[in-house]
């Protein structure tokens, strides 16, 4: 967890560094504009709306076992809740509407195609038929991450996945699910035996720490990948827009705005891609821990066709 806290601080200090760089590059009012642009990336205690900023309530930090834990509501927490509420509402409405008719239309059709894609292209090839039991978790992860990613591209929105704490939370859930799937499928004894790597007992002191480390690096990589991808895209857009304030020119504005539009469209793709990658890798890691008897079968029809 130490690394997580460190990289969170690193993200904040990165924002501060870029802000001070913006101050150095442009004088007076423009520097402040650049600083306030960057401010949107970091987690703050206020939510911007078209009618001005709303200040969120702050609670005094809790003291548990010598640690002070700040549980006040921040911008990213609000957007996590918004994403969860939106998703719960939309998914419920779509599911009701799809259940009423044989062939889904419109938005229900879009939703169903995504669900079927995750089931048939991601979960079943990686985990076999048994993987369908874990489909609710994987689908929730996919749609939740997708909605959170896309919220950052809406004006006045923020992508909560650009905060390492949010992605760390998702990765912890993924870690628990990966281990639970492995233990449920193999039994605890076989699961522990797997940690020895099947080598001679004399090598166990080397093998077991490596295997245990391997368990933790997978979700850690998931966490960092999602966080870095979402933050990097936003930083690039801010940097491009910041060029206008550094150069003090309307003529030069044309190029950065064009580039920023391109990056924005790339972000739209990345938002979907990262949700897909997170889901695929989670299901792959879950599948690795499960004895999927159906591994060979799925390749057959593809080769045959």
């Amino acid at each position: 967890m130490k690394e997580t806290v460190d990289s969170l601080q690193a993200a904040h200090t990165l924002a501060d560094t870029l802000t001070s760089a913006g101050h150095g590059g442009a004088e007076g009012g423009e520097g402040n504009v650049f600083a306030s642009l960057l401010h949107h990336l970091s987690d703050t205690h206020e939510v911007e709306t078209p009618f001005g900023a709303i200040h969120l309530p702050q609670f005094p930090p809790l003291h548990v076992a010598g640690l002070s834990i700040d549980l006040s509501i921040t911008k990213h927490v609000v957007f996590v809740w918004l994403a969860a509420l939106l998703l719960a509402f939309v998914a419920t409405v779509v599911a009701r509407r799809n259940a009423r008719r044989d062939v889904p239309t419109g938005f229900g059709n879009l939703f169903e195609s995504l669900v079927v894609f995750i089931r048939d292209q991601v979960v079943v090839p990686n985990m076999g038929e048994k993987g369908k039991a874990y489909l609710p978790y994987l689908l929730t992860t996919f749609f939740f991450i997708m909605v959170m990613n896309l919220m950052g591209l809406v004006p006045y929105g923020a992508s909560a996945t650009g905060n390492v704490s949010v992605t760390a939370g998702l990765a912890i859930i993924a870690f628990v699910m990966i281990q639970a799937a492995a233990i449920r499928d193999q039994g605890l004894g076989h699961y522990l035996a797997h940690l020895t790597g099947g080598v001679h007992w004399a090598l166990w002191p080397i093998m077991i720490p490596i295997e245990i480390l391997g368990l933790f690096t997978k979700p850690f990589a998931l966490c960092i990948r999602l966080f870095a991808n979402m933050l990097a895209g936003h930083v690039v857009i801010v940097s491009l827009i910041g060029l206008i304030f550094i150069f003090h020119s309307y003529i030069i504005a044309l190029a950065p705005v064009g580039f920023a539009l391109g990056i924005y469209l790339l972000e739209l793709f990345v938002a979907l891609l990262q949700a897909y990658i997170f889901t695929t890798l989670t299901s792959m890691f879950m599948g690795l821990g499960m004895q999927t008897e159906g591994h060979g079968e799925h390749e057959e029809p593809v080769h045959g066709s």
Binding site: D6, S7, A10, A11, T13, L14, T17, Q121, P125, A221, I224, R225, A228, N229, L273, Y276, I277, T280, L281, M284, V302, H303, S305
Partner: protein
């Protein structure tokens, strides 16, 4: 002030090297995937999926290096 400046230099060079490595890796991967789906267009979908997963794994390692560089630059 001087050691800090060298730290920034190291972070910059490190980030550049990490990106070169990641770019080479993903480039080679994409080239191989293109060739594979050119030879066997019927498995193009499967090749694409495998390519994206492998690209994500390479990217993950690159991001580890970049995170180290960011921590170095902001220390």
């Amino acid at each position: 002030m001087e050691p800090l400046g060298l730290g920034y230099l190291a972070a910059g060079i490190g980030a550049a090297l990490a990106v070169i490595g990641g770019g080479l890796g993903i480039g080679k991967l994409a080239a191989a995937a293109m060739e594979a789906s050119g030879r066997q267009p019927e498995v193009a979908g499967q090749v694409r999926t495998t390519m994206i997963i492998a690209a994500a794994l390479i990217e993950g390692v690159t991001f580890f290096a970049l995170a180290i560089c960011i921590i170095l630059a902001t220390k």
